[in-house]
């Protein structure tokens, strides 16, 4: 049962084949069997999950109408606060903190009867592409435990690939949902900015951050998308408009007559051969399904990475200022005679990891007087140019596509000492965040040279998220026909600890 898609699990509960308590227990068992190797979870809320599951079972037993994902377990990225549950954002500085409130997405999931199993590992404060920057140790890719599961949401994607959870929540600032999905052979969607509330999402870069669904199928992602999306009065940047019809689109998977634009600049030099070949094959399948493939050019995308590494650090330098040892989190150096300032300085030195400090300092520099215009100001202009590129491209195509990442999963430790090489991983995912539009990654096969999953990215205009699901579902269906079974059926079995 744990390898099935979430919507099938829900159907099994509806038909009485299984209860949510049984299903939840099966996943909890799986976590305790394999998580020593994968390390997808930072905290497992056994008791809370079973209580929630029991409540859903009771509601079903009473004949109450429950949501389409009621009783289905889910793994929550540790950057999202959940009342009373330890929340660290992968950082030592928040060790032991239990938030006194729920994020809006958590409230929505609880209302929908989704069972939250626990909190998943991530790069500290979502800064990274490998989950190696977690203060609590790296997560391992279930396809190859010596490799990274992507980042920052590596715990969420790994938990899906390891069948520890059928659904997960991620957050995506520069690719943190899509890149982990790509390298673990799972589906991840970054909705349009403002489509899902950010209230309760520990901010990395406020103008780029967006929470979204992670799943093993496009339809599951759509069902979860619909649960968490919608206007929120607690988030001033939340869009007050109906949620795009993503479930409808995912069920139909219709691309007939759709124009699909291949972004010239996001394919070519620097992209692994196997990534390119799987991407090309997918284009052919989409063409066969009735889509028209066109080429579009976005010349300013080559500046996106540079602009991102100014904007995100600038915002993070301010967002992370609140971690100062005064109101929550750890406090270091509070000896007799110590000043608040020295305690702040010491706590932040000890509590933040290297990458986080690097970005805080970079952002502090980019915002400082005398450099603001040259760095932050220029980056904002590049943002304008990227949005213009997208606007132009969307006059030629309904959606844009590219490989999600230039390469398949790299080895743990391989790029740990080369920040720039690490940053290059996000080259294809970042433009979407800069423009605030939607992006999806879904598996399109294994690279022949290393047998590792390749991700296919679909990008849609703001608030046209359903288009990604149409394309994603169409491609997924064609691939399934070709493969005969989901890609994840090819994943090597993990040793099971008893």
């Amino acid at each position: 049962m744990i390898t099935r898609p979430a919507h099938e699990m829900a159907a099994a509960m509806d038909s009485g084949e299984i209860t949510s308590v049984e299903l939840t227990q099966a996943h909890l068992d799986r976590i305790s069997e394999v998580d020593a190797q994968v390390h997808a979870f930072l905290h497992v809320d056994t008791e809370g999950a079973l209580t929630q599951a029991k409540a859903v079972d009771d509601a079903r037993a009473r004949g109450e109408k429950v949501g389409p994902l009621a009783g289905v377990p889910l793994a929550l990225k540790d950057v999202i606060v959940q009342n009373g549950i330890p929340t660290t954002a992968g950082s030592k500085i928040l060790e032991g903190w239990r938030p006194p409130y729920d994020a809006t997405v958590v409230t929505k999931m609880k209302n929908a009867g989704i069972v939250i199993l626990g909190k998943t590992n991530m790069d500290e404060f979502a800064m990274g592409s490998s989950t190696e920057n977690s203060a609590y140790g790296p997560t391992h890719n279930p396809w190859d435990l010596t490799r990274i599961p992507g980042g920052s949401g590596g715990g969420s994607s790994a938990s899906l690939a390891a069948f520890q959870a059928p659904l997960a929540i991620g957050t995506d600032t520069g690719g943190s949902i899509r890149q982990p999905a790509a390298v673990t052979g799972t589906v991840g969607v970054k909705p349009t900015y403002g489509g899902v509330s950010r209230y309760g999402l520990i901010a990395f870069s406020s103008s780029l951050d967006q929470a979204g669904p992670c799943a093993r199928t496009v339809l599951d992602a759509a069902l979860l998308h619909e649960v968490i999306a919608g206007h929120d009065v607690h988030d001033a940047t939340s869009i007050d408009a109906p949620v795009p019809q993503v479930v409808h689109a995912a069920r139909n998977g219709d691309v007939k007559g759709m124009k699909i634009g291949v972004v010239k600049e996001l394919n070519g030099d620097g992209y692994q051969a196997g990534v390119r070949s799987r991407f090309e094959e997918s284009l052919e399948l989409l063409a066969k399904a009735g889509a028209e493939i066109v080429e579009v050019s976005c010349p300013n995308f080559e500046y996106a990475l540079a602009a991102y590494y100014l904007i995100a650090p600038s915002e993070c330098s301010s967002n992370l200022a609140r971690f100062d040892a005064m109101r929550y989190g750890i406090r270091i150096g509070d000896a007799d005679g110590a000043s608040a300032e020295s305690v702040m300085n010491l706590t932040r030195e000890v509590g933040f990891g290297r990458e986080v400090k690097r970005r805080i300092i970079l952002g502090t520099y980019a915002l400082s007087s005398g450099y603001f215009d040259a760095y932050y100001g220029s980056a904002q202009k590049v943002r304008t140019l990227i949005m213009q590129d997208f606007n132009n491209a969307f006059t030629h195509a309904d959606v844009l596509v590219s490989p999600t990442c230039p390469t398949t999963a790299f080895k743990i430790g391989e790029k740990a000492n080369d920040p720039l090489a690490m940053y290059l991983n996000d080259i294809a995912t970042i433009p979407v965040n800069m423009a605030g539009i939607g992006g999806m990654s879904l598996p399109c096969g294994l690279a022949p040279e290393d047998g590792l999953p390749v991700g296919f990215q679909v990008m849609a205009p703001a608030m046209q998220d359903q288009r990604m699901y149409s394309v994603g579902a169409a491609l997924e269906a064609s691939l399934l026909t070709q493969w005969g079974a989901p890609l994840l059926s090819q994943i090597p079995a993990l040793a099971v600890a008893k």
């Binding site: 999202i80 606060v81 929340t87 954002a89 928040l94 903190w97 938030p99 006194p100 409130y101 994020a103 950010r198 209230y199 309760g200 999402l201 520990i202 901010a203 870069s205 406020s206 103008s207 009065v233 607690h234 988030d235 001033a236 940047t237 600038s314 915002e315 330098s317 301010s318 200022a321 609140r322 971690f323 100062d324 005064m326 109101r327 929550y328 608040a340 300032e341 702040m344 502090t364 915002l367 400082s368 007087s369 603001f372 932050y376």
Partner: protein, 518 residues
């Protein structure tokens, strides 16, 4: 050697050697700049739904947003935006068609996010002015204070310093933080530099803050209580030699919390600067703290290391772009300007200038107006509020508005006196009773038995007894020595415990002794 400073050497030699204010203004021209922070009186905070009520138990009015918890997001209070626009309109400002919030980044434990959401280069209102009048020996003088900007921001929490000396920050062992105040909406009103006030700079500063306070109160956007910190003034002062073009270095005196202190602080800083300049020393650009007791300022942090606040647009909030229709709707609600209103009321009530000034000084205008609206004669209403009631308020060290007596009570008392049911003396006792919490005027009259004795047979009986007790006095009156009547009237008043109408007693007594009343 130059002159020694009164502030550093006042204890040496037993006598003060100091520049006089006249010395200062003979040589220097002061340039003012005033920054006023106003706490808006919205029900909820600037960016969250926590209550703004003053004086709650610590940390009872806090939530994830105003505690700066991870994940929490601000959402602007619409009323705060409207109040800010109203302030801008009342100060003759342009309302910006596009305005934004920015983050002002600096670390301080009373600021939960370690940045303040404020407005930087795109404030909500710009370029206004406020005309103020001051009374001088040369007659009433009018000054125009130009407003540079009005912007919105959030207040900080409050720290309590424990250990060390008397709650001061220096020498404290640790501090305790209460974030009830964190996130209360603030509006900052910044003037352009104000030159040309000459020797009247301290009075102009005071008059500006007073006028601003009146406007804010008439707009109903703030409690404007300086003693509670809902209106706080920072006074920037610099001096330049008379005729000089370039500005001198300014000092910034923080949190001056009464009108009188505004005047004292400006005057004190002018003298301090002049002494430094006369000695050939530099004025340091720094923050100074006003000392209420001494009227002097104490050095705060020098700004030699300029802060780098790294302002950038607040990404959690969207721009405020009020359209013309919204602005005009708000403009239509603007109340009468306080200066115009004062002039109108003074004419309507025929109040002499001096009394009018006293009424304004005592903050009694609103309360007197309410009393008059309830039917009381303006002169009598004013007489009660500025006389007996003010006296009691002074005794108790509160304002007249804090007392338990209302305009309705006073209007009722005035009416009773007019009808002859109360004498002025009795009325004073009623006022005292109402203030003491004994209830309405009617119930005080009832419980204290303060009704005027109007039963003439009772009065006549008392008069007879007085005559019997002092036959010689009565004889003098019969013989035409009218002034002697006072002793007998006094005796009657004493017997009736003051509840008789003395004029009527006199009438009856003189008639009884065969004398004409006049």
């Amino acid at each position: 050697m130059g002159r020694t400073s009164a502030f550093t050497d006042s204890s040496i030699g037993g006598g003060k050697v100091s520049l006089t204010y006249e010395d200062v203004i003979a040589k220097y021209e002061p340039v003012l700049g005033l920054e006023v922070h106003v706490e808006l009186n919205t029900h909820s905070k600037m960016f969250c739904g926590c209550s703004t009520i003053f004086g709650g138990e610590p940390n009872t009015q806090t939530c994830p947003v105003c505690l700066g918890m991870p994940g929490a997001l601000p959402v602007v209070n619409e009323k705060a935006i409207e109040s800010s626009i109203l302030i801008g309109l009342a100060l003759n400002c342009s309302i910006a068609p596009f305005s934004r919030f920015s983050r002002k980044n600096y670390f301080y434990p009373d600021m939960p996010k370690n940045f303040q959401i404020s407005q930087y280069d795109e404030p909500i209102c710009v370029n206004g002015y406020l005309d103020v009048e001051i009374d001088t020996d040369e007659g009433v003088k009018k000054f125009r204070v130009e407003i540079e900007r009005v912007h919105m921001e959030e207040d900080t929490g409050k720290s309590l310093h424990v250990g060390g000396a008397t709650g001061r920050i220096h020498g404290a062992d640790y501090s305790l933080l209460d974030y009830n105040r964190a996130g209360i909406p603030l509006v900052e009103i910044v003037t352009k530099i104000v030159p040309g006030t000459g020797k009247y700079a301290p009075e102009v500063a005071k008059a500006y803050v007073a006028e601003l306070r009146d406007i804010l109160r008439s707009l109903g956007v703030s409690d404007v209580r300086m003693e509670q910190g809902s209106l706080r003034c920072d006074a920037n002062v610099s001096l330049r030699l008379i005729g000089a073009q370039t500005l001198g270095t300014r000092s910034e005196t923080k949190n001056v919390n009464s009108l009188r202190s505004v005047e004292r602080a400006v005057r004190g800083e002018m003298i301090r600067h002049a002494e430094l300049l006369n000695r050939g020393e530099r004025v340091v650009q720094e923050t100074r703290h006003f000392q209420e007791e001494s009227g002097l300022t104490r050095s705060g942090r020098s700004k030699e290391q300029a802060e780098d606040y790294r302002y950038f647009p607040e990404p959690d909030l969207v721009p405020v772009a009020p359209d013309a229709a919204w602005i005009e709707t708000l403009r239509a609600t603007l109340p009468e300007q306080p200066t115009l209103r004062r002039k109108r009321l003074q004419a309507e009530w025929s109040v002499p200038d001096k009394e009018m000034a006293a009424m304004i000084n005592a903050d009694a205008l609103d309360i007197v107006e309410s009393t008059v609206k309830l039917g009381a004669d303006p002169t009598r209403a004013r007489g009660w509020w500025l006389g007996e009631i003010s006296r009691i308020a002074n005794e108790q060290n509160v304002t007249i508005a804090d007392l338990k007596i209302t305009p309705t009570d006073v209007a009722e008392i005035v009416a009773l006196v007019l009808q002859g049911d109360l004498t002025d003396k009795l009325a004073r006792q009623v006022v005292e009773g109402v203030i003491a919490g004994e209830g309405t005027p009617a119930s005080v009259i009832e419980s204290r038995g303060l009704k005027v004795v109007s039963d003439e047979s009772a009065l006549m009986a008392a008069i007879e007894r007085a005559i019997a007790a002092q036959p010689e006095t009565a004889e003098k009156i019969r013989n035409g020595h009218i002034p002697a009547a006072g002793a007998l009237i006094g005796a009657v008043m004493k017997e009736t415990k003051g509840q008789a109408d003395a004029a009527r007693v006199r009438e009856l007594l003189l008639g009884h002794l065969g004398q004409s009343v006049d």
